[in-house]
């Protein structure tokens, strides 16, 4: 029974990682940059929920998604757009700078002490011997719906197909009449909205928020995105779920629990050694 519970917990944690990993992978696929400030958008989402919680949980969630989308767009316009075409290193350092900026602003606004953000007391579902929190079930269900929805959106909607086009060849896409700037903006908005939802599911599981909250899930999700093959949407999902399940099982065994992070990152190294493009990453042939 414990095995099943741990597996479900792992899947739901993995679902959250996958949601964040999608943000990394989409931005990488389309804008060809690593947005290291993405993890901190989770934290922004968490504090936004905290600010609006007094009205109503639903309002707070919607406000958090909208605010994070705007935040993502503003960050892209102010920090990244002027650097389009600059060396990847400059963009990377800028992203790290944005990450520190967001953390510092949050610390100034909310203080560094942890804040409890109790959105709702959901209780526990019991079927025979299995007792599992509703928060886990909701996270699982929502992440499944989001992932399927995002896949359909990218494959079949006009905007989604424009995103694929931009990720394959920016220049050619532009020549075909696609507004690349708009597509990049939409990508940031979707990624940030997913980060806001990730913060919601984190808070349902563990209701505490600190200014540095986003750092670790951000790194874990980035690892998940690379394991799955950065730039690949199904890859981010597989990587996220894999990482979540591994984390929960590692922590469930006292003897290896202290090495959980080491195990996760070792898996990243092994996968990159065997398959440098990640599990579902595409091989790109270099034309000479």
């Amino acid at each position: 029974m414990d095995f099943l519970i741990t597996f479900l917990n792992g899947l739901s944690l993995g679902g959250i990682y996958a949601m964040i990993a999608l943000g990394y992978t989409m931005v990488y696929g389309i804008a060809k940059m690593l947005n290291f400030a993405h993890g901190d958008i989770i934290m922004v989402g968490g504090y936004t929920i905290l600010v609006f919680l007094w009205i109503n949980p639903i309002v707070a969630i919607i406000a958090s998604v909208i605010f994070c989308m705007l935040m993502g767009i503003v960050i892209e316009k102010v920090a990244y757009k002027p650097l389009r075409g600059a060396s990847p290193l400059a963009v990377l350092i800028t992203a790290i700078g944005v990450s520190y900026l967001l953390q510092s602003i949050a610390q100034m606004a909310f203080g560094s002490a942890p804040k409890f953000v109790v959105i709702a007391d959901l209780g526990t579902l019991k079927i025979g011997e299995i007792a599992i929190g509703y928060s886990t079930i909701i996270t699982l269900a929502c992440s499944a719906v989001i992932m399927v929805g995002l896949n359909l959106f990218v494959k079949f909607s006009k905007t989604g197909r424009a995103m694929i086009a931009v990720s394959e060849d920016k220049g050619a896409a532009q020549l075909m009449g696609i507004n690349v700037n708009n597509i990049i903006m939409i990508t940031f908005a979707i990624g940030s909205a997913l980060a806001a939802l990730a913060s919601l599911f984190f808070l349902l599981k563990a209701p505490t928020m600190t200014p540095t909250f986003g750092a670790l899930p951000g790194i874990k999700a980035f690892t998940a995105a690379v394991i799955g093959g950065i730039g690949s949407i199904p890859g981010a999902m597989v990587g996220g779920l894999l990482l979540g399940v591994i984390e929960c099982f590692a922590q469930a065994v006292p003897a290896i629990a202290p090495y959980t992070d080491a195990i996760e990152f070792s898996i990243l190294i092994i996968i990159l050694l065997v398959k440098p493009t990640g599990l579902l990453g595409k091989k790109r042939r270099e034309k000479v």
Binding site: G111, T208, L216, F249, P258, T260
Partner: protein, 403 residues
């Protein structure tokens, strides 16, 4: 270039040259503190990042003590000055920060706020022979060298004390441990706890859960510990409160959460109502941050008067820092009474020898606000020759079990 800009840059260049000259002349002296007008007490601690609640409380409380001492006339007219830099709880920052403090004329120190940076700090302080009394770096190795002292209980003392308490009070119960495996503080206490625990508890390794980093979801750990009656948690209060909250959603037989001094402040987390936890929550500590009477309460009132209670909450780290400043001050007074010369530009090395002699002498006891206080009497605190503190611990029940 406009004329005004030219003049401005010329002026700035002049300022830089003057600064450079004055700096070199300063370095020419025997020791960096030669020009001090006040006795400089330096330290590092996390003022930003995840551990900043501890560093900020230390900074505020130490400043409060310095201000009080200065207002009362200082050390026969010599004023004190506190200099604290942000180490972000990151050991790699310490080398630069220590050098900066030393070059600016630090004469005595409060070391570091947390253990990891403290392990670096102590080696540099040893080289220059700088006296330090840390408020809260609990690592066993912190007072390893003769110039290092602690105001807090060392990890091994806390682990041993907790094991003793378990042996005496929880015999026959099924116990579990929840610790942070990448934290010196937590691992140190856990190892000593395990070593001193009675054999009758059996092998506790099967009910020992751990986490690393700023983990926030503890599903697996709760599954592992849900059948225990007493859970020992040698961790800080943030993850502890998360564990307790998340465990509410799982059927468990836990009756008591028992922590160490890192639990101090667990009942003051904004938005977290400790009374929603059904279990008894208690810990072994040297300071009660919710005291309503006695010297501790007096200090708490002074702190909250000066600082924003909500954004920069007081905790035992702060209380210990307050005691540290006063202990160094009292030791200087004692040394002066014994005929030692102390002035504002005494070198760190000389001051270290003087302070060591006082702290190591059997007759020196300091009356502080941490440790066990009786009524309005302050606690008695003294130090062993190895730099560890001698004072009585308090078992503090945050809340009784409820239904």
């Amino acid at each position: 270039m406009k004329l005004s800009t030219k003049i401005l840059s010329l002026a700035l260049a002049l300022v830089m040259i003057v600064c450079a000259i004055s700096l070199t002349s300063c370095n020419g002296e025997d020791h960096p503190a030669a020009d001090n007008e006040k006795i400089k007490i330096g330290l590092t601690g996390p003022l930003t990042g995840g551990a900043s609640i501890y560093g900020i409380a230390v900074k505020n409380a130490a400043q409060l003590a310095v201000d009080e001492i200065n207002a009362a006339g200082g050390l026969d007219g010599i004023q004190f000055e506190l200099v604290m830099y942000d180490d972000k709880h990151d050991a790699t920052t310490v080398e630069t920060l220590y050098a900066k403090l030393y070059e600016e004329g630090m004469q005595a120190s409060l070391g570091t706020v947390t253990t990891k940076p403290g392990l670096e700090f102590k080696t540099f302080a040893k080289e220059d022979n700088v006296f330090f009394l840390t408020p809260s770096a609990t690592g066993d190795a912190i007072p390893e060298f003769a110039n290092g002292y602690q105001m807090c209980f060392a990890d091994s003392n806390q682990g041993t004390a907790a094991a003793k308490f378990f042996n005496e009070n929880y015999a026959g119960k099924k116990i579990g441990v929840f610790y942070k495996s990448d934290d010196e503080y937590s691992v140190g206490i856990y190892n000593n706890f395990k070593a001193n625990l009675d054999k009758s508890f059996g092998d506790i390794s099967a009910t020992t859960a751990s986490f690393t980093g700023e983990a926030s979801t503890f599903d697996s750990q709760i599954q592992l510990l849900k059948d225990c009656e007493v859970v020992f948690m040698p961790i800080y209060y943030t993850p502890a409160s998360q564990f307790m909250t998340q465990a509410m959603n799982v059927d468990n037989s836990i009756a008591i959460y028992y922590g160490c001094d890192g639990f101090d402040g667990i009942d003051a987390i904004e938005g977290f109502d400790i009374n929603t936890v059904k279990q008894e929550v208690s810990y072994l500590s040297h300071f009660n941050s919710t005291a309503t009477e006695g010297p501790a309460a007096e200090f708490i009132a002074k702190y909250n008067d000066k600082y924003d209670e909500e954004r920069e909450p007081l905790n035992q780290f702060g209380a210990a820092a307050y005691d540290c400043v006063y202990a160094i001050y009292e030791a200087m007074k004692t040394a002066k009474a014994n005929g030692k010369e102390i002035d504002a530009n005494i070198s760190a090395d000389e001051l270290c020898e003087i302070l060591k002699e006082v702290f190591n002498s059997d007759s020196f006891t300091f009356r502080g606000i941490t440790g066990k206080t009786e009524g309005n009497e302050k606690s008695t605190i003294s130090w062993s020759a190895d730099g560890t503190v001698q004072k009585e611990a308090i078992k503090y029940i945050v809340k009784e079990a409820s239904n």
